[in-house]
């Protein structure tokens, strides 16, 4: 029962924060709302028992990434307000409609899909495999089975670091004419 209450509460917080990310016209508020969403998601990870991931989520997202966002926003010192939403009623309508239909379809797919999964579970009874949901097993998996991916990510991050520096040193614009 507490699980349920906790879930519904977290879900509510996350969704509200998410909504305010996309609805707030001031990007600072959006950023703060995003931080709130991150925290909510992190808490959801806790409810799912993924403690390490939850921690990382807090540190990386809510900490580093969000600070980056806010710092950039501060750096810009936006003088004039950008129109919050795109123009064009028809495309806007199509966009909203497509998003809505997508959400509906996905939800529909989920309900259909999970029923199928339940049914499969009921017939096959797969759940025999033991599952150590702790940080150690995560680390073992990461550094044994997925060590190549891990290292590749390291390289990617290095590249990104160099690329970012290069980009921010450039004089700006995608079509630098001068």
């Amino acid at each position: 029962m507490t699980d349920a209450i906790l879930f519904w509460f977290l879900a509510l917080v996350t969704v509200c924060a998410g909504l305010s990310v996309i609805l707030m016209s001031n990007p600072i508020y959006s950023a703060l709302s995003l931080a709130m969403t991150m925290v909510g998601v992190s808490a959801l990870f806790v409810t799912l028992g993924a403690y390490f991931i939850a921690g990382v989520q807090l540190i990386v997202y809510a900490g580093a990434v969000m600070v980056l966002f806010v710092m950039v926003l501060m750096l810009f010192d936006l003088k004039h307000e950008i129109q919050a939403f795109t123009r064009g009623k028809i495309t806007g309508a199509i966009k909203i409609a497509s998003v809505g239909i997508l959400a509906g379809l996905v939800v529909g797919a989920i309900t259909l899909g999970t029923k199928a999964i339940e049914a499969a579970k009921a017939t096959e009874a797969v759940a025999g495999k033991t599952y150590d949901n702790n940080t150690m097993s995560l680390a073992q998996n990461l550094f044994l089975q997925n060590v190549f991916g891990f290292e590749a990510l390291g390289v990617l991050l290095l590249v990104i670091a160099v690329g970012t520096v290069a980009l921010s040193r450039s004089r700006g614009g995608t079509h630098a004419r001068d």
């Binding site: 795109t86 495309t91 966009k95 497509s98 379809l105 529909g108």
Partner: protein, 644 residues
């Protein structure tokens, strides 16, 4: 010397002359150029004489000297050698070509000495002789065709020799293209003969010629020879392809003498004589040949009546005389045709050279209305021209008399002749006498109409010697072929000519209707009398100064107008064929190429472009729109998956 070597020297000597003069084309040393060229042709002449003596020495049935130099084309069953033959027919031709040719070369040294391109001129002239020798010596139709086109080329170059005059350049082009029309038919004729008889070698063809006369119009021999004859109408200036010859007078006068009177234009006659067994097998073709010859003889003669340009008169006269030769071969009198070919070569070359001498004296003037009374200034020219005149009007015992009389008689008496052909021939002879006398009267006799600033003078020796030699030949040349009837009367002179040619001439298979000597005498007297009367009338009219243009125009009205404009044949060709062709070609280009094919291509490319710009309209560059397409795509895919 072996006859192979002789033939090689005969052929190559003018070619070497061409190369020598051609490589130093800038030189203006007319003596050197002329000596090289004349010498080259003279060497050939000596070779011809030696070959002729070899032939005479050989027994009558073995008079054939061949020289096979190399295999020219060999594809499948089609083999043609660079093979040359000297026999009874071609030996006469090479003598005429090199003999008359040497004289004309000699004359040219005097005539062309002031010209800047004199070396080039002699080079071309030598090249012409070379090609003409290939034409007459070639043992197959294809080797003959090599010379056939080669002389056309030289004719083109020589007519357009003074190319900076647009009209002269155009005349050269006209000659070449008109000849090409004939040549195209000649090519087809060769194909017909080759695919029917399997060879182009003329001896083999003659041997293979059908022995029974082909009655059908569609027989191989008939069609083949007809096509070859069309080729001959081009080269030998017969109706309907004669139009180039009068224009060809734009070339230097010795060229007209050599190419457009004595040699090249007779190639058609030579070709028919060469292939006489094949023609004999095709009576329909021969009928056409005779009719075309008769029409040409009369038509050209009538046009000749109205011309004032001294060379144009001679040109139409040439066309008319060529008509006689075709009339002769058309009725099966191949020997008479060849005979007239030779005598005509003498007297017409003489007259052309004479006219050259006159033009030379008149400082380039060719209009006979500005001449008259030149007799006293140009005694030698006048005298030699007089001989030529007597020969051409067929004055008894002059060379032209024998050949022309024989043709007229045969056109009546031959099994393939008819009285109509004789009448046409006689009219032609009468007209010839008239316009030639008119020419004499306007040029040499009567009162002088020479402009004051022109001082006519007799030509130098180098030009008069050829005139004298040709005059002698014109007078006596006929005696080697005296018709049987007259020969008896003159003291049993045998007809050397007929005997010489007999082994290579096929007699007509039809039996000749019996004719009496009286008939022959009567016809001969009639035609000669008519000619003399008309010559006398012309003499009276034109020496008295009555024969002005206006007077005659008044007398004959529209008829004169039509004739004076050469029956509007040139106009008809230009208006009916050439201009529409050019115009339609323009249309083809504009409408089919540019407006149809290219337009179609452009429409296709525009369609591609249109499809591209349609697709481009989705690529707005707006990233959010792209994201929307992704979203829509996912929606569509998911819908598809879920609905399944």
């Amino acid at each position: 010397m072996s006859h192979q070597a002789l033939i090689a020297i005969l052929l190559l000597s003018p070619f070497v002359g061409f190369l020598l003069n051609g490589l130093r084309y800038r030189s203006q040393n007319y003596v050197l150029a002329g000596s090289i060229a004349t010498g080259a042709v003279f060497v050939s002449f000596i070779c011809s004489v030696m070959l002729m003596m070899d032939l005479i020495a050989a027994p009558a049935d073995q008079r054939r000297l061949t020289a096979n130099f190399f295999e020219w084309i060999a594809v499948g069953g089609f083999k043609v050698n660079a093979g040359f033959v000297v026999d009874q027919i071609s030996s006469i031709m090479i003598l005429i070509i090199t003999g008359v040719g040497s004289l004309i070369h000699l004359f040219s040294i005097g005539y062309m000495h002031h010209d800047k391109g004199v070396t080039k001129y002699f080079a071309y002239l030598n090249l012409f002789v070379f090609n003409m020798l290939i034409l007459v010596l070639g043992d197959s139709l294809l080797t003959m065709f090599v010379g056939w086109e080669g002389v056309g080329l030289c004719s083109y170059l020589l007519i357009g020799f003074w190319f900076s005059d647009a009209a002269k350049a155009a005349a050269g082009m006209k000659a070449f293209i008109t000849n090409r029309v004939g040549d195209a038919a000649f090519i087809i004729g060769m194909f017909i003969l080759f695919f029917s008889f399997g060879t182009l070698n003329m001896y083999e063809l003659n041997a293979l010629a059908p022995t029974t006369v082909e009655a059908s119009w569609l027989g191989a021999a008939t069609l083949g020879t007809l096509m070859l004859f069309i080729g001959a109408t081009g080269k030998s200036a017969q109706v309907p392809l004669y139009v180039w010859l009068p224009d060809a007078m734009a070339g230097p006068t010795p060229v007209s003498a050599l190419i457009h009177a004595a040699t090249m234009v007779t190639a058609g006659v030579y070709m028919i004589v060469r292939l006489n067994p094949m023609f004999v097998a095709a009576p329909n073709t021969m009928m056409i040949v005779a009719i075309v010859g008769a029409i040409t003889a009369v038509m050209a003669a009538t046009i000749g009546l109205t011309q004032y340009d001294i060379k144009k008169i001679l040109a139409y006269s040439t066309v008319s005389q060529l008509g006689y030769m075709f009339l002769a071969v058309g009725v099966g009198a191949f020997g008479a045709g060849m005979m007239h070919l030779m005598t005509h070569a003498f007297f017409k070359a003489l007259m052309f050279l004479g006219s050259g001498s006159v033009i030379h004296a008149m400082e380039g003037e060719q209009d006979t209305r500005l001449m008259g009374g030149l007799k006293k200034y140009l005694p030698i020219t006048h005298f030699t021209f007089l001989m030529g005149w007597l020969a051409i009007i067929g004055f008894p015992l002059f060379s032209g008399f024998f050949s022309k009389d024989e043709i007229l008689w045969q056109s009546f008496a031959s099994p393939r002749g008819s009285v109509f052909l004789w009448v046409a021939g006689a009219i032609g002879a009468t007209l010839t006498a008239f316009y030639m006398t008119r020419l004499m009267a306007l040029t040499f006799w009567g009162k002088s109409r020479v402009p004051k600033e022109v001082h006519p003078h007799e030509s130098p020796v180098i030009m008069t010697i050829p005139l004298i030699v040709l005059a002698i030949l014109s007078v006596v040349g006929g005696f080697i072929g005296v018709p049987h009837l007259i020969g008896e009367y003159l003291g049993h002179i045998p007809n050397y000519w007929a005997e010489w040619l007999a082994p290579v001439i096929k007699t007509l298979p039809e039996a000749a209707a019996p004719h009496t000597a009286t008939q022959e005498w009567a016809l001969m007297t009639t035609s000669v009398t008519l000619a003399l009367i008309s010559a006398f009338v012309a003499y009276r009219i034109y020496t008295s100064g009555k024969g002005t243009n206006e007077a005659i125009a008044k007398a004959f009205g529209p008829v004169y107008n039509v004739v004076n404009n050469k029956y509007f044949v040139d106009e008809a060709y230009f208006g009916g064929i050439i201009n529409p062709l050019v115009k339609q070609s323009q249309n083809l280009w504009m409408y089919i190429d540019v407006n149809f094919i290219d337009k179609t291509t452009h429409v296709i490319s525009d369609m591609t472009k249109g499809a591209g710009s349609l697709a481009r309209s989705f690529q707005t560059g707006n990233m959010q729109q792209y994201a929307m397409y992704i979203g829509l795509g996912v929606v569509v895919v998911l819908t598809f998956v879920l609905m399944r």
